[in-house]
Symmetry: D2
Subunit: 325 residues, 4 copies
């Protein structure tokens, strides 16, 4: 696989930088004091109709990584682990006659999983800035009983619209970006232009780095979870707010470049984009087939649909996003 | 709420009835010996394009019931339980300064849940007929390590198409069908005709009984899980196969009428439709707002999208189905 | 079964009462500023030798209630649930030949359970008084990552010593105490005297109310978890501290009488005994056979051994306590 | 640490060897056709009294390894994983005032864990020989609903008696046995003799290899779970049966030497000792302090108490075994 080598980034983002960005980019109150949807509000009914019209050849793609014990949660960051799928009833029981008293032969199962162990949405209640979360709600409204505000179930009917893929490594002539490669605002714009696709208000923007495919190819997740990764530079906070997109997604663990551009904040871009801008974030997207199809037909826009599980009070949700062209 | 009283059904389905139905209605081999998709194969690219064109006013509906401890798994049928949502990190920790060493303030969470505890897909590996499952695979291919065939992850990119709502209680002039009300083939046809909607090959057909809404209104699930319920009569096996629909869904625990029309089989309709016909089934759908909208605009068709979580080897998946008009 | 009718208790414990008790009964600092064991410190090596000498007839008793879905966690207080026991491998798999590639035929299993769903120890970190826990540690040292102080694993080698059963209903001439029956200090003393057993420093004192046996007999847990129950009156705080016992246990959900003697505090006795006195508490003990044996041989003392699972940072542990006579 | 180098073992145990051993060593029927306790039956009341008399200096030891994410389940053998301990309520919630409506400030927690992820008992239903388990019961009696026979809860009151430590590496002049070191019958006898301790009918025999301590010292579990390990040679099946001991325990993942002495069976010793001899096995015991104390005072016998959690139908149980001298 062809690697796009990393660029060298400064780690110069200070708490003052963050505070300035927080104030400058805040969308708090833009949709009223009771809002819990943030930039998903940008999507209009007309946008949905237009997005559906992008289904032209009737081809659907699953952007969900398999949920299993081979997933990327090796380091156990924050106590996360790979999904534990266990059977409650099996065909071996059935054939052994163990179920016949119940007059039904069946299999059944359960799962235990961190809501952000694989392909996922971050809810707006996932990240705090200081003592606050999106729209100024007190962070303490997320306690052991779940999130009273900004939980993922609030978005239950909103995760559909126009999707746009920005395939950065293909644009740059490679298969994947090296860990530590930071994507700039101008690259996002140039990539869109080269692909012939416009970024519009209310879009679900999906950024491909190729990192997941490279890891899958080498059969070793390595530092994928929480470690070095290609991703969006801090400056893209500005781009995201200005473009008024609905959501931002990537094929990496945390969307933003790592090592981060800061030594005082872990995931500094997260500090701003979720609690201050109010954008829902998608992570660990599987993009291989979609990207290949886009490269083949030169169409980088599509109907996107990724409904979260409406788990009451959850700050994230596993998903199987779909793109339909 | 206006109740449509139950009709009295005979419990006369014998093992011989079932065996005759199994042989007569089998779709095994129709899509080759290696098929694991069953009637989802009916959906064509042209169907997807046509389904997307049903998005006319840009209104989206979530058909997923909230996943929480207030769910319907009271009886614990088969060891099922309501979802257990637990926090791995909270805003109270964040504000107490407990996370500051990690330079990020955040919340995180996990869930433990039976895959069929709420709004859900049954995979083709969920129900067996004798020692076999869909397409003739040995039931023992579903063991404690999961399903080697007919698991839900195989359908990952297929759960999108034209949705049609059949609102039986509204058609019959009520709000909900009483437990034990069996819906016949002729009622399905008459309802569709009255609603001005045609059932087509490849459709996701969603049958509303009103039972869930009645239970939610009375704030007591009662016998919802595994107990008496309105639903499809056994004869609808024939209707389903003949119509060549892609999937069948309902707002009840198990789609079919209970008490069942048999004393020798629990859920006799399941014995046939999943393993022999090969149809994916959706259960515990929340239909209130969608049904009200359809009643208002007289449009009972829509784009339907309900991607399962691709849990490797799973025989079901929780979902948040979306309907878009 | 013969019921001992409830006595009528006042609900007159105020926050001022609690604060006075907290100050008067505090053992903070008694075993140094770094102590995390509380009254378990009372047990001396000589006590252990003496306790072992109580094994005279070689009869052992399990005081653990079965851990399964039939347990008492009906109300889901605090999100608790009955244990979920699930198989990871089965004999049906084995006999079906599904394991033979691994050259071993076996069964394996897992459990998901609240640590206080059944017979259990409360750790000293389980209950707070104001912003503090046992020995004055900040309550915020118990966060989503577990308890940094006063966790149950600290007691790993300490849960052995002299056990004494106080069988209150037998002493009062009945089989069980009615819900709401409050046991006083004088009753504890009179019961011990009637039984011919002395309460000594370092004892594990086990109080039988008969409530569990009554619930098991009626095959309905009813209000067992968090609802009305017989139990220790608030004044027994004083008795417990004065007697310098090592631990206090009962056959009820929460040891103390419910409805509580307060309307401003839930479980007011807990407020004092765990964080201020520093006593480890055992709950939901199954006492039937032990109590019958003690009644038969008139010996109410025994070797007691109830090692907790040393789960790092846990604030409780399921246990299977043993009494040996 | 001083290593005792491995000896070279043949891998010559065939299925015929196993079948001969199974027939020769079978204890099936010895305690009647309904027995589910196996060699635990050897323990008499007099044994309990004698065991308690071994408590001479009043010193207790916990033999349980910490249950946490740092445990030995790295390889995920059979889908096992390290314990997942999660909070249901925290002190940070309490201090933030989030619990005050409930009038109690507290912490609470839960765990999800394989029953054999750490220090544990194997139940007699854990291992099968052919289509049978201990005492000739059909292996299919262990299905997805648990074990109908030979489950760990049957032993609830039996796990107490005389414990004997056999400290093989100390006997051989080292700190630990190298992976692959096989312990023979004559070494067991010689070690006991050198230690001045007699192995008696009904004993809980605990074999120390030092492997766990070596792994803990190097802060890397390496192959501990399911990989190369020191342990008992296959021939010790004979020793175990002849000595009529009650249980056999070790500080390793699986008691027996690995690589195994067979290429046709994984854990061939398990094939015989559990289903045919009917002996309960303890694994992953933490022995450091106990072994040091025994070396210091030359007393290798003690009261042993390791009550399992009585999880209904379980084929294993996590434990915190205690030794008291």
């Amino acid at each position: 696989m062809r690697k796009i080598p990393r660029n060298e980034l400064k780690q110069d983002i200070t708490l003052a930088t963050l505070e300035a960005a927080a104030q400058r980019l805040s969308n708090w109150g833009n949709w009223g004091p009771d809002d819990e949807l943030g930039t998903l509000n940008y999507i209009t009914p007309a946008d949905l109709v237009a997005a559906a019209a992008l289904v032209r050849k009737g081809k659907s793609f699953s952007l969900g990584l398999d949920f299993n014990q081979e997933g990327p949660q090796l380091t156990g960051w924050g106590g996360r682990f790979n999904p534990i799928h266990v059977m409650l009833a099996t065909g071996t029981d059935a054939v052994a006659g163990r179920q016949d008293e119940g007059k039904l032969r069946y299999a059944d199962d359960m799962v235990s999983m961190p809501l952000q162990c694989g392909t996922q949405w971050d809810a707006l209640g996932h990240i705090f800035y200081g003592e606050k979360m999106w729209n100024g709600y007190d962070a303490r409204l997320v306690d052991s009983a779940g999130a009273k505000k900004n939980s993922i179930d609030k978005t239950r009917a909103k995760m559909i619209g126009r999707g746009v893929l920005l395939d950065i490594p293909r644009f740059l002539g490679g298969d994947y970006l090296e860990d530590g490669y930071g994507i700039s605002n101008s690259e996002l714009d140039a990539c869109a232009k080269a692909q012939g696709v416009e970024i519009r208000r209310g879009d679900f923007v999906i950024v491909r780095t190729g990192q997941m495919e490279q890891r899958l190819a080498q059969k070793d997740w390595g530092t994928y979870a929480a470690g070095p990764a290609p991703g969006l530079r801090f400056e893209t906070c500005e781009w995201i707010r200005e473009k008024q997109i609905a959501a931002i997604c990537a094929d990496t663990w945390g969307c933003e470049v790592r090592p981060n551009e800061s030594t005082v904040a872990f995931q500094p871009w997260h500090w701003i984009v979720i609690p201050m801008i109010g954008i829902t974030m998608g992570e660990i997207f599987y993009l291989k087939e979609l990207a290949e199809d886009c490269a083949a037909d030169k169409v980088y826009e599509f109907l996107f649909c990724a409904p979260p599980l409406p788990i009451t009070g959850a700050v994230g949700s596993p998903i199987n996003p779909m793109a339909v062209k």
